[in-house]
């Protein structure tokens, strides 16, 4: 029983990370129908920016987190303007290939400058090193923090999307891009804003992972990126609550497969879930199907 609860807690932490990354995927897909392969690498760069803040600038956790989020914001904005905007009207395959190109560029560019070896985040002290024991179950302050920060960011995101003008613009543009433009919505700005939001969340996830799992490397974004994409599809691509549900589901499944099965197969299980959901219900748990007009 205690093993079970421990796994659930671990799963919630991992799930939070996936949810944060998945949100970016789902928002971007919702608005320009692109699987942004480079999103996982923005998460990786967030981790690196946080690393440099903490080790070289000797900043604390919170300032590093905020700077990393800001940095990723700029990065996301730049990538959209340089690589994706020119292809707004190109066939989907073309944008997908470009996204793959951007992803590789970020990975190997980073590797070129900071070398491929693993870096370790400095150990956390004070509040962040706290652990609490409930019988045989251990909950660390970091796990609580990850959950809290994720939920907080989620609330902020919901507020932006549901209560602000730009949020409304995002929702409109993702439903019908052309109609949104006809209604006077500046779609370019809206798209940039979406990228900015998504990238900030990914950056936050990167720093949280650095703190929680300690090690970072230039290729750390690929797997979590893909798995977060699976999470977004599982929950319902383009739907924000879907990213949440999908993220936590995948996180918990992965932890359980590792814990009770074999950690070797956990990647394969996640991909098997992807293929299954694409075959059975491609619109995901929360999704509604809509066919192509012939």
């Amino acid at each position: 029983m205690e093993q079970f609860l421990q796994q659930v807690i671990n799963g919630l932490s991992l799930g939070s990370i996936y949810a944060l990354i998945a949100l970016g995927y789902t928002m971007i897909y919702g608005i320009i129908k692109l699987i942004n392969f480079a999103h996982g690498d923005i998460y990786m760069l967030g981790a690196y920016i946080g690393y440099f803040c903490m080790t070289i600038l000797k900043l604390g956790f919170l300032p590093s987190l905020l700077i990393a989020m800001a940095g990723c914001t700029v990065l996301g904005f730049a990538i959209e303007k340089i690589a994706y905007k020119p292809l707004r009207n190109a066939p989907r395959i073309a944008v997908l290939i470009t996204a793959i190109g951007v992803s590789l560029f970020l990975e190997y560019g980073t590797m070129f400058f900071v070398k491929a070896n693993v870096r370790t985040y400095p150990a956390m002290t004070g509040l962040l090193a706290e652990r609490y024991q409930f019988g045989g179950v251990v909950v660390t302050m970091q796990q609580i923090l990850i959950l809290v920060i994720t939920i907080l960011l989620m609330v902020v995101l919901q507020f932006i999307v549901k209560r602000t003008k730009i949020g409304k613009a995002m929702r409109a543009a993702s439903l019908d891009n052309d109609a949104a433009q006809l209604m006077g919505i500046n779609v370019d700005t809206t798209i940039s804003f979406t990228f900015v939001l998504g990238s900030a969340l990914a950056g936050a996830a990167g720093v949280l992972v650095g703190v929680y799992y300690n090690s970072i490397n230039p290729l750390m974004g690929m797997m979590p990126g893909l798995k977060a994409f699976v999470a977004a599809v599982l929950g319902g691509i383009g739907l924000i609550p879907g990213a949440l549900i999908g993220g936590y589901l995948i996180g918990i499944v992965e932890v359980f497969v590792s814990g009770y099965g074999s950690s070797m197969y956990r990647d394969a299980v996640v991909f098997a879930i992807l293929i299954l959901i694409l075959i059975v219900k491609p619109t995901g748990i929360l999704g509604k199907s809509s066919g192509e007009k012939v």
Binding site: A83, F112, M264, D267, A268, F271, I275, L278
Partner: protein, 313 residues
């Protein structure tokens, strides 16, 4: 007659260069890479460029071919063993192609891409965890049977067979799927069936390439056949032009040379590849050759011979 000379001449010329050691063993490895990449590129082009199905899992099929061939060769280190291994690997890759293709080929564009990527990753995980494949450590000491003859036979053979296919009604059916699936189905083309056919043929060829790789480079590990390998092939196809066989051949040669040149700088190579992808998609999405084939008057018949489905007889 011209066709016959066109096919035999390159073989003879290169063979002479090899025998006189003008092409030394270092360059021979590059040559092997070129031939293997040609097979991979033209077969991926069939799936993605000609039939319009975006597959990111080509490396998965290659790995099946490689491992099956290696395992059989290690048991039966003879020429018949090599040929049997090659065939078995390709057939198994094709079977997996059908298995994966049937459910996933209903998916469109990006979803299909990710599903094929997922399939390729699942294959890699399985190979890393099986005892018989020696897991992550890989298989070594695979008997080497592959020489220029076999490389040329299989790469030229693959190109010939695929070009023939694309010049047939079945090939045109595949091309019509790329053009407009719904229209194709409305004129009687069984779309899913042809998608699966293209996918399976592509997988078979990738399996052959894998077997050749195994028996030339004599060492396999699952990591070689990951997403990055699929990207390698994709870059060749995109650079050459999705929908051009001669483009794929040209790009395979070009990129093999660049790879060899940048061998000591693996990050630079990937950075170059990534920039190539981005720049090509933004500024020249049709790649080098678009969907045309080389048809210089010098090559005359050969050029016409290569061009599929453009109203030429």
């Amino acid at each position: 007659m011209k066709k016959f000379i066109g096919i035999v001449l390159p073989f003879v010329v290169v063979q002479i260069l090899i025998s006189t050691n003008i092409i030394n063993s270092y360059l021979q490895a590059t040559l092997a890479t070129i031939c293997i990449n040609i097979i991979l590129a033209v077969s991926l082009n069939l799936i993605t460029g000609f039939t319009g199905q975006f597959s990111l899992g080509h490396a998965g099929f290659m790995s099946i071919g490689a491992y099956i061939c290696a395992l059989i060769l290690l048991r039966f280190p003879t020429l018949p063993g090599f040929l049997a291994g090659l065939l078995a690997g390709a057939v198994l890759a094709a079977l997996v192609g059908i298995l994966v293709g049937l459910p996933t080929l209903r998916l469109k564009g990006d979803y299909l891409a990710v599903a094929t990527l997922g399939m390729s990753e699942i294959i890699r995980v399985i190979l890393t965890n099986l005892e018989i494949t020696n897991g992550a450590a890989g298989l070594s000491g695979i008997p080497q049977f592959v020489n220029w003859f076999w490389l040329y036979l299989f790469s030229a053979g693959t190109v010939l067979l695929l070009v023939n296919f694309l010049n047939s009604s079945h090939g045109r059916a595949c091309i019509s799927i790329r053009e407009d699936e719904i229209a194709a189905e409305s004129v009687g083309i069984p779309v899913t069936r042809y998608k699966v056919i293209a996918f399976t043929v592509g997988a078979f060829c990738a399996g052959i390439a894998g077997g050749l790789y195994a028996s030339y480079f004599y060492f396999l590990k699952p990591g070689t056949f990951g997403f990055l390998k699929s990207i390698d092939v994709l870059v060749i196809v995109v650079l050459g032009g999705m929908g051009s066989m001669s483009g794929s051949i040209l790009a395979a040669v070009l990129l093999a040379l660049i790879s060899t040149f940048l061998q000591s700088f693996p990050e630079l190579r990937m950075i170059l590849y990534s920039l190539l992808l981005i720049v090509i998609m933004i500024f020249r999405p049709q790649g080098l050759m678009g969907s045309k084939e080389i048809s210089l008057s010098i090559f005359g018949k050969l050029g016409k011979f290569l061009s599929p489905g453009k109203g030429r007889e």
